[in-house]
Amino acid sequence: MKVRLLAFASAVAAIGSAEREWELASDLSVAELRQRLALDYPAIAPLLPRIAIAIDGALVHSSMVVRDGAEVALLPPVSGG
């Protein structure tokens, strides 16, 4: 399956771009997706423990299953205000 991968803040440099298509095996959990991220984009690995993941605009837990066409966003700790 394909997902749209969005990166923000320090995750942009680690992924190499703010937005890209990403090929994945079907029906991965978010926990599995985190493991694949570290393999496909090694620079993101040290940041991952503090990165939250949103699917289609909502923060998700690691047991959630990612579907084809999803928008997967990598969200470092925030600093708005």
């Binding site: 923000f8 320090s10 605009g57 700790p77 708005g80 205000g81």
Partner: protein, 144 residues
Amino acid sequence: MRARLVETDFDIPALLAAVADPACGAQALFLGTVRNRNDGREVLAIDYSAYRSMAENVLARIVTDLESGEPGLRMALEHRLGRITVGGASIAIVAASPRRDAALDAVRRALQRVKTEAPIWKHEIYADGSRSWREQEPLVPTAP
């Protein structure tokens, strides 16, 4: 209710007018502004970026939650994105309420929630030419 991301400076009188109501005894405003120093370094500007669609939903939810918790409370919340130089404002939160304390409380609580829940990031630009991301508050999904 009005919550949005903007690219230009705030129109404060318009924001206050947006929440004004004859049943209200108070209006409160909070403006976050870019300081010339942070952690001992001289700051020239901050570039604000966001996961826009999600950030707009989060800002709207914050306003809706607070308004539904206080009778007669009326709020507006805007966050600016892009480059903001020292002295410029990055966030404007306004509230009007029948009870006077409620307007100040609502503004304070909205600020706290924006800082911890909205997918918005500061990229500080220093006088020495360097820059750095400020990544402060890890986002946490609500209980499953």
